[in-house]
């Protein structure tokens, strides 16, 4: 199975500014050249064979044209995830700068406590089917914005004279929401269920740390949320990259 895509640099390098608040703005699918045809990777279809989407039909894989706009959407979403990965890294650096020592010190590694309302990437995430991974990505990205907002509110009290950090946190919440929505759109376009079975509230609460009341736990929570944000957008970028032609097997 092969893929052939006429080069369209504008599609792959479409500028996705961090301020893409709305779904409509963030997921504009640029038109592809008429010669574009895209064949999905077999691994995705084999593992995601439970979907009834025509795109997942092995017979359909042999068709010459597979939703040209879908590739553009995937490429665009991947670009967004790539961009947000860099932003998430900058956010984490900015965050630790304002928390005081020993935050940011090389030897400072607080335990990676679970966060209420947000799944940490499972160690076996890479072994899951791509569709499932994308679904988990979308769920996590949907859960991150309120947590990032909570971190921003706490930081607004703690470091009111760090406007850049506050702006980055605000942007991160908006961008996570946009990326999650974009991933859901890709999943929907692929015919997969955008939302899998929602986690049970009990399961969510199990093992989760209650909301911190002290400043130090709040700092740790913020650090953890920023780290998870970076982790999820990084995974999302990797998962979307596997959908692109030429991506890793």
């Amino acid at each position: 199975m092969s893929s052939q895509v006429c080069s369209n640099p504008s599609a792959s390098t479409a500028p996705l500014l961090p301020h893409t608040p709305s779904r409509r703005e963030g997921l504009q699918i640029p038109a592809l050249p008429a010669c574009t045809f895209f064949l999905l990777r077999p691994s995705f279809h084999h593992k995601g064979a439970q979907t009834s989407s025509p795109a997942s039909d092995p017979q359909a894989d042999t068709s010459v044209s597979f939703l040209p706009h879908l590739e553009a959407k995937i490429r665009q979403t991947h670009s967004l995830a790539h961009l947000l990965t860099k932003y998430a890294e900058q956010l984490l650096q900015e965050y630790v700068q304002h928390q005081g020592a020993p935050f940011g010190s090389p030897g400072f590694s607080p335990p990676r406590l679970p966060v209420a309302g947000l799944n940490a990437p499972a160690p076996g995430h890479a072994g899951l089917p791509l569709q499932e991974r994308l679904r988990l990505d979308a769920v996590a990205l949907a859960e991150l914005p309120p947590l990032l907002d909570a971190v921003r509110r706490r930081q607004a009290e703690l470091t009111p004279r760090a406007p850049r950090l506050l702006r980055r946190l605000e942007d991160a919440a908006r961008q996570a929401r946009a990326l999650g929505t974009a991933v859901e759109t890709v999943l929907a376009a692929l015919g997969a269920a955008a939302h899998g079975p929602r986690r049970e509230p009990a399961a969510t609460a199990a093992g989760a740390t209650p909301a911190p009341v002290g400043v130090f736990p709040a700092k740790l929570l913020g650090l953890r949320v920023c780290g998870l944000y970076r982790e999820w957008v990084r995974r999302t970028e990797g998962d979307l990259g596997q959908l692109l032609p030429g991506g890793p097997a």
């Binding site: 928390q99 020592a101 470091t159 004279r161 740390t209 009341v213 400043v215 130090f216 700092k219």
Partner: protein, 1078 residues
Amino acid sequence: MCSMDSCLCWRQSSWMVGRGKMRLPANFRWLLATFVLLYLLNQVNSQKKGTPRDLKCTTNNLQVWDCFWKAPLGTGRGTIYKVCIEDRPHSCQQLEKTNIKIPALLPGDHKITINALHDFESSISTFILNEKNVSLIPDTPEILNLSADFSTSTLHLKWNDKGSVFPHHSNVIWEIKVLRKDSMELIELVTHNTTLNGRDTVHHWSWTSDMPLECAIHHVRIRCYIDSLQFSGLKEWSKWSPVKNISWTPDSQTKVFPQDNVVLVGSDITFCCVSQEKVLLAQIGSKNCPLIHLDGENVAIKIHNISVSDNSGTNVIFSTENSMDGTVIFAGYPPDVPQKLNCETPDLEKIICSWDPGRPTALVGPRSTNYTLFESFSGKYVTFKNAEIPTNEKIYNFSLNFKELCKILFTVSPHSPTSFRVKDINSKAVTLSWRLSGNFAKINLLCQIKINKANSAQELRNVTIKGLENSSYRVAVDRLNPYTIYTFRIRCSSETYWKWSKWSSEKQHLTTEAIPSKGPDTWREWSSDGKNLIIYWKPLPINEANGKILSYNVSCSSDEETQSLSEIPDPQHKAEIRLDKNDYIISVVAKNSVGSSPPSKIASMEIPNDDLRVEQVVGMGKRILLTWHPDPNMTCDYVIKWCNSSRSEPCLMDWKKVPSNSTEAIIESDQFQPGVRYNFFLYGCRNQGYQLLRSIIGYIEELAPIVAPNFTVEDTSADSILVKWEAIPVEELRGFLRGYLFYFEKGERDTSKVRGLESGRSDIKVKNITDISQKTLRIADLQGKTSYHLVLRAYTDGGLGPEKSMFVVTKENSVGLIIAILIPVAVAVIIGVVTSILCYRKREWIKETFYPDIPNPENCKALQFQKSVCEGSSALKTLEMNPCTPNNVEVLETRSTLPKIEDTEIISPVAERPIDSSDVEPENHVIVSYCPPIIEEEIPNPAMDEAGGTSQVIYIDVQSMYQPQAKPEEDQETDPIVGAGYKPQMRLPIKSTVEETAAEDDIDKTAGYRPQANVNTWKLVSPDSPRSTDSNSEIVSFGSPCSINSRQFLIPPRDEDSPKSSGGGWSFSNFFQNKPND
């Protein structure tokens, strides 16, 4: 307390001691002492065995004494005690226990009798009881409540003093002990004073721990001491109360304490961690701290002198193997007292206050400083939280009555005026209107108007207006110029000035036009043909035009008529009128939209002036000062006009009018340029006509000429050059010509190019020609047929102009050449003549010097020598005197490489083979053909000398050979006849007639050498001589003084008598051999 018996016996013994002092007999004393001792022992035994003893009384309330005693020995249950107190009714009580509560007794001694009844035996003890012997021991206090405020680490203790049981007011000292940890380490022991007031009172005491209470159990005990002034007995502390403790029950996940506290910078603070695991590390910020172990795994750290925190606080972290807990401490400063509080009202409706908060507290967010503003008139409080606003300015609304208003009038700072407008009143006045928010009806406002005009200084005008309620204000501004753009701004304050409001926005306004205030400045010029009069006028300045000038009206009038020309539109500022020879008055009127200006009049007549001279003037800066003598005939003003002299007619660039009483004028124009010649004409106005008074040419600034004078060589001679040049045009002169500089120097075209005319060069001659009318120059005293470099430059006061150079070659000087030839020739002739004379006069000396006499051959023993020698040795055949033709003797000076034969070669016609020293044997070598000269020596004949001169003898380098010789001079003295000069060796004495005849026959043929037959000499220099030992045979022959190739004058004359001495004389061989040594 002691029993009465004891007291008695003590008293008794003391009495007896006292009696001892009465000087009893000694034996009696011993008896008495023994008796007393026995008695005492008996008494002690009796008491121990059978009477109540050790009565003690205590009290805890000062009202009841609790007395107890010890039962008699041997008694047990069933003993009945009868206690009686003297001086009290019904004072006896019977009881079976050993204590009794009795009401407090009055101060003083009281006798108490205790009678113990046991087994039908009785024993009585009597005690004296006094209050002083009673102990006041309060009851053990009881802690009612011990609570803790964990957030503040404070313990609250509550207890009852039970003061109702005490009859009097008493001071109570409470001692409280705080203990920590299970081991009950004493942490604090404090005293607390209270007063008993007759009622039960609950007391509170609080204590703040330096360590959070959550981390360790804390215990508290209390006791008291009643300091009753009315009680004279012993006062003792009560027992410690039972321990009360406080411990923390974990109710949340917070395990590090204190949580998020705000502390003062520099404080000491203790953090602790409640942990079930072993705490491995504690750190504040990035600094590790030593652990203080508490109960269990709990630990604490102590921080001294904590430093100020960042905005996000200082992190304190405790790490275990699997977890990390922490807290954040905010170390900051307390807020300073607000300084520079300033409140003002912009509208008398609200107050704006500002203050200086002082040192930052380093606390932000919820921990930032709160400010509360209290306004006393209204009694309002306003709280302001200094969260994130950098400026501490806040607006508060207060309702003020007029009385209050008056008190703060001095702090009125109105808002900036708004709705600022300008409206025309007339061409010189406008109305300003604006709004000022607020109700200023009861005060006056002081407003300041800023008026800006283009190219003019700013003007400020203050106006006082009455404050209005409706906020709309209006004021008129006059003394403005018509048709002028003004910019207005306004600001206001209260009349009692406190602070200006901000300026209003700018408002630009153009005032309306007015009629021109003056007529234009006019001048007239006659055309070149003298038929037309050209009228010039200048545009009116803006402050005189009072509007936009639309046109001009020009009219001319004479005594008969007035002629008006058509309107001339504004951009045109001249008009040409054809006039006859009559005198006319020309009028010019400027018109704008409002009206016409007053007319400007000028007369057409020009009065001639025959006495007119042209003068020169140079300006200063960009101005030229012209002065003139006052002329009373000039009734109206003077006019100075000027023009560029190089421009064509009419000459008019500008003009200036000055009053008739002036005697000078400064001409200034932007059009003036340095280096340009201008013509200035001064006109005087007389009887309505103008007369040219002075004509002046001048420069604003003189510059150096821009070109060099063009010069040519008119004539050239052998010693002079005539140069002629042309004048420089005025435009290129750029100043008044002051002269020329002429340089000349010798030089070719190629070499002079690189050499400038710098001063100081001596080879350059300069001629300064200050007569500017001179146009030729003759340069004299030059050298003929020489190239000269000529340079000519003109100069003004502005400097030297460029140079023009030329190379000229002067003509050849023939006389000089002739002289140059003749003089050396004449000198040579003179020298020759003088030399000849000298030689003639010194000929004898020359002869002696250069031609010394040849020694007399008669003295030569050559023949005898030869004979004797030949007789001895047949092998020596040298100098065999056989008749033969004379040899040709050639004396040469050769510098051969051969050491011996150096420069002499003997060429013989008989043996002409080349001499080879290597091939010739010494014996054969000496064979030299020799012909004795056949000369009559005794008859010296000059002719013979001459004949000798024809011989083949050639002398070479005689002079050089002679020089080292000193002997010939002596020879000259001894033989003056033959001493002068050289004589050919033909003066040998004639021995025989045959020889004589032969000599005569061959006299003409004896052009050869005659052997100087000096036998002694020959002998001396023979090959056997020491000097010749190392030489070959040839050298020997040459070395002979009589050798045919020797120089005869070298033979010293005295050698004939002293052969040996002649051997030490000079010889050719010596000469040649010594030469290298020289």
